[in-house]
């Protein structure tokens, strides 16, 4: 019977290629890491499911809609197609999430000790050294990364999910899946990646440094900061305005205290809805063709290098600042400059407690931690404008 053959042809067995099977397993691995290991489950669970779905042969989750001659819908597209095109290709989802992150961010610790912004700056060295690494791999003929690819890979070192997805969607959509997976996985691995580097680069004495109590920050200062940042971005760095503009908007809704209901929604319903679809959309880029190749291996290796160099740069910057400043900084908090909020700050606190059980660094580490978010957004802006400027 034709119809039986038809159904058989439709069935996975007939169509499943090895690559798709492997990618389904990759998706299941991500789901396992999210549920059992607690790897950034808010993102990796939807990403994993998206990866499984997009690799179901014949299900057409990524199919584009087909119009007939009359311009009417002949065959609708797949849900992942609509999600990706509407939310990720446009940049909407990462920007909306960045707005929500802004609404969840407390800049108090940063405002109490603005110098720590420099730690957030130094840690971005992980981004650019990784760009060089990717280019080196290309030059050696080991991989084939364009400048745009290299920039998108480097942003993994920013340790900030929405920023990485935003940059990748603009500079290297084909690498988006691998880059997002690397970014979120390494953020989850921060407690494993950072401590050895932090201990290696600091002396016991340095790790024991007790920092002076942070002053209380007034509500007015907290309201002024996002406005100030917004204006400086407008003046000096338009290319970073989409990311930082939405970030400042979210933070302003939070601190202003007059739009409580909008702030609540930005922190909950809206960011949750966006996260669900962002995850599925990112997962839809985990097709075998795009993921199962040497480049992905390179991206994973470069990603962990980016995190490590970023961590080291932050720590070394802190030590450098101690040369010139009266108020000593515990170099451990420099590691929090990579962002990965709030994981990296917790790590700094934990390593600090090992050296001195009375020394709680968490609040001190939150400053460089959020500074790292700003730093990587600035780096993202520079890279997007530079690469599109020279036609990457």
């Amino acid at each position: 019977m034709d119809s039986l053959i038809q159904l058989y042809r439709d069935s996975g067995f007939y169509q499943l290629e090895a690559g798709q099977a492997v990618m389904v397993l990759v998706g299941l691995l991500l789901i396992f890491l999210a549920i059992r290991k607690g790897f950034e489950p808010l993102l990796l669970l939807p990403i994993g499911v998206g990866a499984v779905l997009v690799n179901v042969p014949g299900a057409g989750f990524l199919a584009a809609p087909i119009m007939d001659a009359g311009g009417h819908l002949a065959s609708p597209g797949g849900i992942l197609y609509y999600i990706y095109e509407a939310g990720i290709a446009t940049g909407m989802f990462p920007l909306v999430i960045f707005m929500g992150v802004g609404a969840m961010t407390d800049f108090g610790p940063l405002l109490a000790n603005p110098r720590t912004l420099l730690l957030g700056a130094a840690a971005q060295f992980g981004i650019f050294s990784t760009v060089m690494g990717a280019i080196a791999l290309s030059s050696l003929g080991l991989m084939d990364f364009s400048l745009a690819d290299a920039a998108a890979i480097g942003i993994i070192g920013g340790a900030d999910g929405p920023t990485a997805i935003f940059v990748a969607s603009r500079l290297a959509p084909d690498l988006l899946g691998a880059i997002a997976v690397a970014a979120y996985s390494y953020m989850a691995l921060v407690p494993l990646i950072q401590p050895p580097i932090m201990r290696w680069l600091t002396t016991e004495a340095e790790r024991k440094i007790v920092m002076q109590q942070l002053r209380t920050v007034s509500r007015t200062e907290k309201i002024m900061f996002p406005l100030l940042l917004l204006i400086l971005v407008a003046l000096f760095l338009p290319s970073a305005a989409p990311l930082l503009g939405m970030f400042c908007f979210g933070n302003l809704m939070r601190e202003s205290g007059v739009v409580e209901r909008l702030s609540d929604t930005a922190q909950n319903a809206l960011i949750n809805i966006t996260t669900i679809f962002l995850g599925l959309g990112v997962g839809s880029k985990l097709s075998s063709g795009a993921f199962l190749n040497a480049e992905t291996l390179g991206i994973l290796v470069l990603g962990v290098i980016a995190f490590s160099i970023g961590t080291a740069s932050g720590v070394l910057m802190a030590k450098l600042m101690n040369r010139f400043s009266g108020h000593p900084i515990n170099p451990l908090i420099g590691a929090a400059g990579v962002s990965a909020v709030p994981m990296a700050a917790r790590v700094a606190n934990k390593v600090g407690l090992e050296a001195n059980p009375q020394n709680f660094l968490l609040m001190h580490a939150m400053g460089p931690n959020v500074a790292g978010v700003i730093g990587s957004a600035v780096a993202a802006g520079v890279m997007i404008s530079y690469v599109s400027g020279i036609g990457g």
Partner: protein
């Protein structure tokens, strides 16, 4: 572009990028410090505005209060 150009581009991107990040954040340090100084000198800290909870908020509060009173009542009758 060939690999030497690519290396050159990468290097210039690196210098430009780190330069921009540092310059921008250094500016931000000074701007923030200045802002804080001005605010702390000239703006008397006013008590935080009472949170305006939207209709939803009210609704929740009502629900919560209903449950509360029920609970208290049940408790008193123990």
């Amino acid at each position: 572009m060939n690999s030497t150009d690519l290396l050159a581009e990468g290097l210039s991107l690196m210098l430009l990028g780190m330069g921009t990040v540092f310059v921008f954040l250094i500016i931000l340090v000074f701007a923030t410090s200045t802002m804080s100084t001005l605010v702390r000198r000239y703006v008397p800290e006013n008590p935080p505005v009472p949170v305006k909870s939207g209709p939803g908020g009210q609704l929740n509060d009502q629900r919560v209060l209903a449950v509360i009173s029920a609970a208290i009542h049940a408790h008193r009758n123990k």
